[in-house]
Amino acid sequence: MLFREIILMAWSSLGANKLRSALTMLGITIGVFSVISVMTAIGALQNSIESGISFLGSNIFQFAKYPVNVDAGGEAKKKFQNRRNITYRQALRYYELMQGNAQEICLKTFGRDLKSQAVYNGVKTTPSLTVVGTNGSFLTANAYTLGYGRNLNDEDVELARSVLVVGKMIEKRLFPHETPIGKVIRMSGHTFTIVGVLAEKGTSFGQSQDDICIMPITRFFEDYGEANRTVNIATQPFSTELYNRTLDKGISAMRIARGLRANQENDFEIYTNDSLKSAFTSVAGVVRIGAFVISFIALVAAGIGIMNIMLVSVTERTKEIGVRKSVGARSYDILQQFLTEAVFISEAGGILGIILGVIGGDLLALWLKVDLIFPYGWAVAGLVVCSAIGIGFGFYPAYRAAVLDPIEALRYE
């Protein structure tokens, strides 16, 4: 029998019970949707992390008080809550120790507690700017480039000048028609002179990276106080080859700066691009497994639904099977026909699930402002799994149909 005929037959008999077929299909759709949407979203995130956006500038390692997932709570939180801040003094000590061993050393502290809204000429920015007190190495350490004007320099830090380098968004908002260089803006109760503008960087994880303003770390402490603030230290070695040696040196220097004895553990965290990526990957892995388990359960339930409906269908169509056999259908033809219907339901559900899943996952990716993807691998896997479900759960009903005695089947009313 021709393949075209099988498809047409399956189509017409499923069409005869539209609601029933659609409901059976829906089970598969839900199962596939859950896995595909999660895989799309995670894939999009991972994609944007691996190609393009780095958490840190290239080759950079960073010391900080807390690890990435300290918010996870429980044990981790307890362990870190009594940890000492990294003070500016300690940071400076590290800076001194590492002089000549690293290309760039960036000290930075974030004013996350500040109500940071910049005002110029009555025009206001959003109240949630990222305010950073740092030095001239910030740009390299965080993979920013200067658009125009100048970067912070050592003198700015030494003299605690009230100067700012601002992100593209601030420039667009406050200075749509004029140059911001040399202009004085107010922010969080202090005034600053803008000396430079960063080139646009785009967004990462749903956060704009262009609503940032950076100032000398010394000025930051003058204006906003030093208590309860911890300093992050990013270090860039002279070359990739020297990365491991510099990291070792950096850890030693950090231990000295923190005043740790030989038998004490490090009381600071080491961030590298690799460690950040692997932290993300481990979280992503857990989410993936979760999505997998949910999908698996949903798909098994849907498969049982298909089997049930196919059994009902075989019973209802006993007479039809008898007629087909009387005009020359072989058992194999009947098996093929019912199996095709089961696979059809399951594939149609799967395709719908993939479409909805990709849309759902990409909407999430869109919201997080990362590049959209189409997870080809997962889509193909989804179709294969759906075929397997259709065949697996459709086989028994189809077999029952195939082995019906034509005489009995013809007599069935």
Binding site: S12, K325, R330
Partner: protein, 252 residues
């Protein structure tokens, strides 16, 4: 006598389509063994019009299933166009049904959601014939039964007689060795039944072999030969008297 019959073209001659010898069929129903057929021998030639008659329980249906290759005998020989059917497996039987036999049922047994054309195409689909040829053949068969204008109607849009015509077209479409009609007029009023029997007569005149299974003597009278079954055995096997078949002689 033999040569006389042949000269008058009453007794069919030439190759026999069906040759069954001493066929028996036993069923086990619960703890009881039912002997549906107890040794039936029959020879049916090309272009015969034969009626199988008998009361219910006579083995008539069993014989029909056997002739229709829906079932195989418990013992005995069944030769179909020289092929031994008694030893065929299900798939080979399906192929015989597909190519050699056209079924016409009392309850029509059309696929309710398919058009007349699609219904008639059904045997050709299983024969693996390509769509264009198939449609052409199905259309021709429908024309033959006078339903050229009802090709795209579904069974529920047709009258009982028209449905049976579609079923006959389906039986004809593969140009089978014989048409096996099981109470073809059982669900029809007598006028429509008469029309269907007229159609059968025409098909017979055109050279088809027809096996009619019925319990109605009126219907059986259309056939040229009548086989009576009783208790699983052939009771009588009669050819129609010469006078009534006169027109057969003159037909080409």
């Amino acid at each position: 006598m033999e040569s006389f019959d042949e000269a008058l073209n009453i007794r069919p001659h030439g190759r026999s389509v069906i040759e069954i010898q001493d066929i028996t069929k036993r069923y086990v129903m619960g703890e009881e063994i039912v002997h549906a057929l107890r040794g039936v021998s029959l020879r049916i030639h090309r272009n015969e019009y034969i009626a199988v008659m008998g009361p219910s329980g006579s083995g008539k249906s069993t014989l029909m299933n056997m002739l229709g290759c829906l079932d195989t005998p418990t013992s005995g020989h069944y030769q179909f166009n020289g092929k031994n059917v008694a030893e065929m497996d299900d798939n080979e039987l399906a192929e015989i049904r597909n190519r050699e036999i056209g079924f016409v049922f009392q309850t029509f047994n059309l696929l309710p959601r398919s058009t007349s054309l699609r219904n008639v195409e059904l045997p050709l689909i299983y024969a693996g014939i390509n769509p264009e040829t198939r449609e052409e053949m199905a259309a021709r068969a429908l024309q033959k039964v006078g339903l050229a204008d009802r090709m795209n109607h579904k069974p529920n849009e047709l009258s009982g007689g028209q449905r049976q015509r579609v079923a006959i077209a389906r039986a004809l479409v593969n140009n089978p060795s014989f048409i096996l009609a099981d109470e073809p007029t059982g669900n029809l009023d007598s006028k429509t039944g008469g029309e269907i029997m007229g159609l059968m007569e025409t098909l017979y005149q055109q050279g088809h072999t027809i096996i009619l299974v019925t319990h109605e003597a009126d219907i059986a009278r259309h056939a040229r030969r009548t086989v009576h079954l009783r208790d699983g055995l052939i009771e009588s096997d009669d050819y129609l008297p010469l006078m009534e078949t006169e027109f057969v002689i003159s037909s080409p």
